[in-house]
Symmetry: C2
Subunit: 341 residues, 2 copies
Amino acid sequence: MPERIGKHTVNLQNKPYIVGYAAAVGKKESAGPLAEFFDKAYTDEFCGEKTFEKAETHLQKAAIETALKKAKLLKSDVQCAFAGDLLNQCIGSSFGMRDLKFPFAGLYGACSTMALSLAMSGIFVDSGAAENAVAAASSHFCSAERQYRMPLEYGGQRTPASQWTVTGAGCAIVSNKAKDTNSPRIEKAIIGAVRDLGITDPNNMGAAMAPAAAQTIAEFLIDTNTKPEDYDMILTGDLGSTGSNLLQKLIKTEQGFDISNVHKDCGIMIFDQKTQDVHSGGSGCGCSASVVCSYIFDKLKNKSLNKVLFVGTGALLSPTSSLQKESTPGIAHGVLLTSND
Amino acid sequence: MPERIGKHTVNLQNKPYIVGYAAAVGKKESAGPLAEFFDKAYTDEFCGEKTFEKAETHLQKAAIETALKKAKLLKSDVQCAFAGDLLNQCIGSSFGMRDLKFPFAGLYGACSTMALSLAMSGIFVDSGAAENAVAAASSHFCSAERQYRMPLEYGGQRTPASQWTVTGAGCAIVSNKAKDTNSPRIEKAIIGAVRDLGITDPNNMGAAMAPAAAQTIAEFLIDTNTKPEDYDMILTGDLGSTGSNLLQKLIKTEQGFDISNVHKDCGIMIFDQKTQDVHSGGSGCGCSASVVCSYIFDKLKNKSLNKVLFVGTGALLSPTSSLQKESTPGIAHGVLLTSND
């Protein structure tokens, strides 16, 4: 049953289990450093579908169906699915949910969605509102580029701080019963507040999201009375190298926390920055979704990692808000993921 | 503490309280039959802002701030806000949340969002994950028209089944403590699944949403072993007259439930269909949000209504999905709202 600790954090007393998880990614991601950890890789950017948007739905469905299979659960065992994506009206998720037929609570947290869906699933399962919940998120380079920026055919030049939207999806099945003694767990959750330090460059999302990440991480550490070195990893979603540097500086200056020894970022991990030409790193809901639902849960399962504070980060802009000269609000949600000791 | 009853429904054993609520609407809404129940009415479609999108944010913030004031709570008392809207990347909500500084879980349920935000708030508060939660949703005729359909200046003709997007927002403050003996309560929640019977006309949202409403209402009645006549009102979000007729027929044919004596629809209630030229009725997240967070809660408070099953309905399309020849999936989420007896 959830209980509040400190001002912002929710303690999940039953520590729900991750009984299945999967990641489905595109070609570039499956040529990166985490290739061996992904469940499915598509070399065709359409994933056999007719449009990029349908391809994104395909990826999300593939991740969910694979995770369910690995959990040895049926679709009818799922009592609530939390999912979201970056597409207008979240069609990446809702068209997949049409076929999967789960009770579906749509989320919008931009690139923080995987952390938000894990937090919601954890709270639902811990409280008894669901026995099994699905947490999922996706993004697709081609559907995101043409929606947020320019038609791909335009071939616009990318700025140094820009990030590469990950083509990928991740899904975790959260349950009140362990599948085996190695099922990772969700121990705590924190829903973040919006923070905006006035970044107006829509090509520098890392800088827009770093302040929210600093705020959520600091709140979590204060609420739980812990220090960065108490964690094997403090993992941000997709700050990329620009945003990661800013986060480390900001949280040190503002709160005195030095996270540099334990901080990793999914946006830096998913691509090889030397050879894959992604500038500041990967981004998109699918970035942290595919890294957490593969590499991270694998390491928690085999206990080479035991305590990971995963903080998903989102930039809550739209092309319209940028054109209307708004700055970019950031948000960051967190979950404490642990090995089953 | 939430407990599952039947296959789809969650029983909120502590029956969280609605300790404050408010609705802020536009000019047309404040000239309609429910005018006297709204807290704020704006005659200027910009609400003093520079753009329609900022006007929508203004409306949502106004509803939230008024509801908090009526609840005699501070911003810092709110531990989680659930909100959403129809705009791309949900900017109607996120820019408001930037100023309000609540922990914020963004939702996307199209026009079902008010029911989803009430369900999530109810489950959070009942479980102990929050003491006070905000549930809010908004829409704006002008921001929706230009995003989903045509520039307003184009003056396109509207089809008979089309609906008029409500300019309005509603907010309810859900709490584990009653404000007084009249605080309405949330007793049960149901998260709906997507249902798509193949409607492809993007101007007939009522028909696209009716099948999902029929499914969620039937599931709720079966789970709780109740009949339509056990409710003072079964209230749908924004089916309008076309969708309402379809719902009543569909649920009778498919499940044998005759809801015609107790069924009302916010989309029909909010405008005068004879004089206000809205064709099939009102729609948009702000439609059910502003009706529930004014008229309905007022009636539950003064006990002229005691048991209202509110089922918000959403059409999960985007302009892109329609252009890609997809049909329109519908979704419906429900909450059982009761007077404090």
